[in-house]
């Protein structure tokens, strides 16, 4: 005899939580199964929250130095303990777990700690830490088990000298040097944090530039700041071998013969879906060739009453998109129409400098429309940027070449991830770029960058019009 639920959610990360809350709000009986004691998933325990707490410290150090024009300097004590740079981490995690726990309780969502395994398409067995088993059945299921770091065969991760994103923050002391394998979001975020704190960071990747899906003007700012912190980016390189020399260094050999040595190495060469032990075959759920759970546009697996959301289905694998997928999957399951999802999902990358993006890049616009209207606002021209000693940032606005409608907003620098939301609203509202010239913004704010970028765009439109007039006159 098993307990019966309208919805059983497997995994308590951002995607699973939102799925559970959405179903409960629709009046359904929900069970949330989570392997860990608290809710939040890797995002809370190994990912977003711990790394961002450390990042705040790193940023504050740099900002303090810049704001005082280096007259007052903050020196990092020798052999500083990493833990001591993120003392607020436990408080932040506890407060997040309290808040999420209260939300689940308020919505009468039952939670169960354990590992879930499908025994049939409608029944799960939940194994607890002590080995105790419980069986539950459900009308619908949402798989939101997340992902874990991928470890290629040639990288012998030992969590002591060669680490991954689950173990990197267990380091007691700040390493003097750190090699980072990979140039995706996690690689670049940690690379810039450790570089800002004083480690000599070397990023190695086969891609020619870091964060290849972002606008190159933004990633140029990232690499130039990395260089300023004493770090370097070795792009277009292939990894031959990684080994701990048995004494004090990790040696990374590249295909061109170069050997990079560092005290520690951080392997961030992608993530794999956590599907082991889920018993997907018993449920008729299929995987893609890359090992991700295969889903349709509604996040529905091959077994129609089983959905999968978040990292387990692959990119973009951001907390924000995962939450939206969780909500939408449940609405689809219970027949609630949420309308069409507009392609205006923002991306926030918490590197130093911070990067934010929404919509399409200039290159994509040129590909799609044959041309693009582009306006730029360097933060050195924005009063808030000057006041905050954050002149290195920029906003880049992209509009349709004919209609002038906003199709993309990309920012680098302080508050960049927040800043692009203004562009996102303009895109969702089908707005012309001139709205930013007419609108009044608080002064001094980074939002003013939108007016500066729009004026730049207007200038280019006027210039283009003049050229066209000249050509017409000549003809």
């Amino acid at each position: 005899m098993s307990d019966s639920f309208d919805l059983v959610v497997i995994g308590g990360g951002p995607a699973g939580q939102k799925a559970a809350v959405q179903a409960a709000k629709l009046g359904h009986r929900v069970l949330l199964v989570e392997k860990a004691r608290g809710v939040g998933g890797a995002c809370v325990r190994f990912g977003t929250i711990p790394s961002k707490t450390l990042r705040e410290t790193a940023q504050a150090l740099g900002k303090f130095r810049r704001l005082t024009s280096h007259v007052l300097d903050v020196k990092m004590p020798e052999h500083v303990q990493i833990e001591s740079l993120m003392t607020r981490k436990e408080e932040v995690i506890a407060s997040h777990e309290r808040y999420m726990g209260a939300q689940l309780a308020r919505n009468r969502i039952e939670t169960c700690q354990g590992v879930a395994t499908f025994v049939s398409p409608t029944e799960l067995e939940i194994g607890g830490i002590s080995g105790a088993k419980r069986r539950v059945s459900g009308r619908f299921f949402v798989i939101a088990t997340g992902s874990s770091p991928r470890t290629p065969d040639e990288v012998p991760v030992d969590h002591e000298h060669i680490l991954d994103s689950d173990s990197l923050l267990s380091l007691s002391y700040l390493p003097q040097s750190l090699t980072v394998l990979g140039s995706g979001v996690i690689a670049c975020e940690y690379a810039s944090i450790f570089a800002a704190l004083g480690s000599h960071v070397t990023i190695i990747d086969k891609a020619p530039r870091p964060l290849g899906f972002m606008d190159p003007e933004l990633t140029d700012l990232f690499t130039s700041q990395l260089r300023e912190s004493g770090g370097e980016f070795l792009g277009g390189r292939k990894l031959e071998k990684v080994e701990w020399d048995g004494f004090s260094q990790v040696q990374t050999t590249l295909d061109d013969g170069q050997v990079v040595t560092s005290e520690k190495l951080f392997c961030a060469l992608g993530r794999v879906a956590q599907v082991q032990g889920l018993g997907l075959a018993a449920a008729g759920v299929e995987l893609t060739p890359r090992g991700l759970v295969a889903v349709d546009e509604h996040c529905r697996t091959k077994t129609p009453h089983i959905y999968a959301v978040g990292d387990v289905i692959g990119p973009p694998a951001l907390a924000s998109t995962s939450m939206d997928q969780g909500r939408r999957a449940v609405c689809h399951a219970f027949g609630v129409d949420l309308g069409t999802l507009r392609d205006a999902t923002p991306v926030g990358i918490y590197t130093i400098p911070e990067l934010g993006s929404v919509g399409i890049t200039e290159a994509d616009a040129v590909k799609r429309f044959g041309a693009a209207l582009v306006g730029r606002a360097p933060f050195r021209e924005v009063a808030r940027g000057q006041i905050s000693a954050a002149e290195d940032g920029m906003l880049k606005l992209v509009a349709h070449p004919e209609t002038g409608l906003i199709v993309g907003a990309h920012a680098a620098g302080e508050s960049a991830a927040d800043l692009v939301h203004i562009g996102q609203m303009a895109m969702l509202g089908n707005m012309h770029f001139e709205i930013f010239i007419d609108a009044i913004f608080n002064f001094p704010t980074y939002a003013e960058a939108y007016r500066i970028a729009a004026l730049d765009m207007l200038g280019k439109v006027a210039q283009r019009a003049r050229q066209e007039t000249k050509v017409a006159a000549a003809e």
């Binding site: 004691r37 002591e160 173990s167 048995g246 004494f247 032990g277």
Partner: protein, 291 residues
Amino acid sequence: MQSQVELASSRQTTGAVSEGIRRELETRVASGKLELPLLPGVAMEVTSAAARDDVDAKTIAEMLKRDASLSAHVLRIVNSPVYSPRAQIVSLQQAVARVGAGKIREIALVIACKTGVFKAKGYEAELDEVFKHSVATALFAQEIARQTRNNVEDAFLCGLLHDVGRPVLLQALVTLLRETKEAASQEAVLAVVTDLHEIAGSALAKAWGLPETVATAVSKHHTTTPDKESVSVRIVSLADTFAHLSVESGALTSEALAGHPSLAALEIYPDVLAKIVQRATVVRETAGVLS
């Protein structure tokens, strides 16, 4: 100095440790008046140098050379099958370069503890067992830390020193009994040591300037509520049980560990537990060489 005859007589006597002696011992522990052994100078230098990045194999080898006994032990250990030397290691510099500064630090600390701390005349056999248990606990703590993505180096130190209060207390209690001309049975002496060893060990860890995490792990490793303690306490508390079951009773199985409160606190599910249990043979071999 206490004579062997006196010690032998104190060990053969039956009876409990008097309330007065126990209170005096408790007072000395609480007020920090316990006589604490010093970590031998060379071992201290080596352990702190090995943690730095700017120290090369040659420098560490030079430090080791100043302590002949320590050097001999290092060479014996690095030549053992556990470290699989490709060829015999004959020099200290070769030893440091071969097994790594981190391992040399561990070996130096283990030897220093054994020769400088885990000794009390008349109780050699008991302390030898405590020491072997401590080394096994350190090695299991490393394995647990690796599997749970916690700091591996800290875990070793916490495990190695978790029972360091026992020899310290044993020394103090034997001295007190001698001074007051009282006698107590071996069982009674060891029972008092067991009662107070966490707090005495913590005092020693602080006196040696070891990190706070070590002092906490030492002072709370017998907790019954590891979920309310730090990660290092959870790891050492579990590693302690692993070592008891594996080395002393030879009955290490996942079933024997079931229900240990640190398993839930560290979120170790049966699959991960099985992986750590599988490492027992390697741990036993390494512990045998180190101790």
